[in-house]
Symmetry: C2
Subunit: 88 residues, 2 copies
DNA sequence: GCCAGTTACGCCGACCGTAATGATA
DNA sequence: TATCATTACGGTCGGCGTAACTGGC
């Protein structure tokens, strides 16, 4: 499971939009769509409901969102720790 | 950051050997080596010291190991949560 | 028509096993 | 020489942007 995909999903949910998440994370909307699709395929469940006005979590997505957010945060903390270690 | 790479590193450290981790995780030693290399490259620091008798954490590795372990565990928990959601 | 998401296409890079190589005891 | 790690090689798969497409307002 890739932390970047988790970050993509969390950001899309927070902003309510794939496009907005793409802009914020430096991807295209196409890329974000595929990241979320890949995450859903890996887990075997649908995480977000797509509408023409944006995206929202499904009930399954609500249950998993804390784990995915935690995973993205842990990756970020690991990177910061690595940067600190490198500075020493 | 890929949770599978974190699991590879944690397992290699626990078993003290890339080959043993490979056998346990269903990879070849070559694959484990590259996973660990990729993780180190992504973080920009060396995580484990290689000897001909096996592997051991560097001091940087000791500092980061909890994060990588937590990341792998969180991914595992997410998968279990997804499986539970699918069963409902 | 506009805006959001999706998909086809093509390129490039990542991944992994096999097999050969290096290093150490 | 036996064992562990690494690397070159080849095939395959995945990721990403661009551009074309679909659906709802």
């Amino acid at each position: 499971m890739d932390s970047e995909k988790c970050r993509a999903l969390v950001t899309a949910v927070e902003l309510g939009s794939m496009s907005a998440a793409a802009q914020q994370l430096g991807y295209t909307a196409s890329g974000i769509t595929r990241m979320v699709n890949a995450l859903e395929a890996e887990l075997g469940i649908t995480l977000i409901a797509r509408t023409s006005r944006g995206v929202a979590l499904t009930s399954d997505g609500v249950a998993l969102e804390p784990f995915l957010r935690e995973l993205a945060l842990t990756a970020e903390r690991a990177r910061q720790q690595a940067a600190a270690a490198k500075a020493c």
